[in-house]
């Protein structure tokens, strides 16, 4: 019975992926991408990787989807048009077939190479499960009980540290593209009474659930990134409800919030080196506490970065719209 579900899921995912790439209209692509993200999250659940599933659903389907929808807005016609006109506008320009031969050859070769590497990788997985045994043996020393969290924040803390950095780099890219000064425009969108009530109700719930995910990361699926997306959602909701939270606090505080996750991680690493250990080798007695602090600060930083990415892109569009109101 469950193998049927798996096969169905696999077929649906491949179908959605192909459709997402080949569909002629951009808006269809975006919504197929939503569906694909949710399908991927389900697939991760079926594979037993709940951590990845939560992150996939939250970041890929949720946050990226929001960004895509937002980007779609700037492709949308500025004047309202009828339904049948819309189809022409969203259609991507068709190139002639000849210019597509080389890209197609490259695509096929690339796919073949990818397939080869994937098969090779599947072949190479050792029967003993790789490093599972040694990771589980060291679990009591890691300060947490959930193996995924132990690997992410203790054994391979380096990776996680760089991941936080990558998100910050993304934000820097947005800053460079749009300029930091765009930030000062509070109350740009008009608040809707109903939206405001819902945001008022949802914000504390989201905050609590994010904190729960953060704390449960110690013993089960959850952790900094999952919590960060929920907290980032609070920021985006507040921004949409006409309360851009980072335009209200002083600039230095905003920058402190953005960098404290990465910064604390780095300072801790150097302190550990000064103590005669290697980078991110926590003393086992304090490991649990240190991981909790890192995760909390990291989650706040990531949430702030996600919010800021969204808010800046959103504001950038508003500014371009003002320059050229109708086309």
């Amino acid at each position: 019975m469950s193998i049927l579900i798996d096969i169905l899921l696999a077929i649906i995912m491949v179908y959605l992926a192909i459709q997402c790439l080949l569909t002629p209209r951009l808006i269809q692509s975006v919504f197929l991408f939503f569906a694909f993200g949710l399908g991927l999250a389900l697939a991760w659940v079926r594979l037993g990787a709940i951590d990845v599933a939560i992150t996939e659903a939250a970041i890929a389907a949720g946050f990226l989807g929001v960004l895509f929808l937002d980007a779609l807005k700037s492709f949308a016609p500025k004047v309202s048009v009828k339904q049948d006109n819309l189809e022409d506008i969203y259609k991507l320009p068709r190139r002639n077939i000849k210019s597509l031969i080389l890209p197609r050859v490259i695509l096929v070769l690339g796919l073949a190479l990818f397939l080869f590497i994937a098969l090779e990788a599947v072949w190479m997985i050792p029967d003993g499960g790789g490093l599972t045994a040694s990771a589980e043996a060291l679990l009591p020393q890691s300060g947490v009980e959930h193996p995924v969290t132990a690997v992410l924040l203790n054994f391979r803390a380096y990776d996680t540290w760089l991941e936080i950095g990558v998100i910050l780099l993304g934000l820097l890219g947005v800053f460079v593209a749009g300029g930091i000064k765009l930030y000062k425009k509070p109350g740009a969108s008009k608040p809707d009474p109903m939206l405001r009530q819902v945001i008022l109700f949802v914000t504390p719930v989201l905050f609590l659930f994010g904190a729960f995910l953060l704390y449960i990361g110690k013993t089960g699926p959850g952790g900094a990134f999952q919590a960060a997306v929920l907290w980032g959602a609070i920021g985006i909701l507040l921004h949409l409800g006409g309360k851009p939270i980072f335009a209200m606090i002083p600039r230095w505080l905003f920058h402190l919030i953005l960098t404290m996750g990465l910064g604390f991680f780095l300072v801790l690493g150097f302190l550990l080196i000064a103590d005669g250990r290697t980078l991110f080798e926590y003393p086992p007695a304090y490991a649990g506490l240190l991981i909790l602090i890192i995760e909390t600060l990291g989650a706040i930083s990531i949430a702030a970065a996600l919010t800021a990415i969204y808010a800046n892109l959103n504001q950038m569009e508003e500014e371009t719209n003002e320059v050229e109101p109708t086309t």
Partner: protein
């Protein structure tokens, strides 16, 4: 044991029926408002039935409470977004409405 499973199957089938009806509505209805109507009303009901079916199947009060909260939050989110989309569309179509409100 048997009765529980039968109730679960019935509830989930009813839920799927509502989802199907909602999807059919989205595909077949002529304009945005009726499509929104079909999507949010029918799908919320369908999700409610499926959630009830799952709650009966799992048969633990704590899990039932969690499932109920999933349904309540989906209800809240979908009805709010339905309202926002409809309001946006309304303003797009009749810009004079906006001035009356302000």
């Amino acid at each position: 044991m048997m009765i529980k499973e039968i109730i679960t199957v019935i509830l989930i089938v009813v839920g799927c029926f509502f989802f199907l009806a909602g999807t059919l509505g989205v595909l077949r209805f002529p304009d945005l408002f009726s499509r929104l109507h079909a999507l949010t009303k029918a799908d919320n009901l369908g999700l409610g039935f499926i959630a009830a079916g799952m709650a009966v199947y799992i048969a633990s009060p704590w899990a039932a409470l969690k499932i109920l909260s999933i349904w309540v939050f989906t209800l809240l989110a979908s009805s709010t977004s339905c309202y926002l989309i409809a309001r946006f569309q309304k303003e797009q179509e009749q810009p004079e409405n906006r001035k009356e409100q302000e």
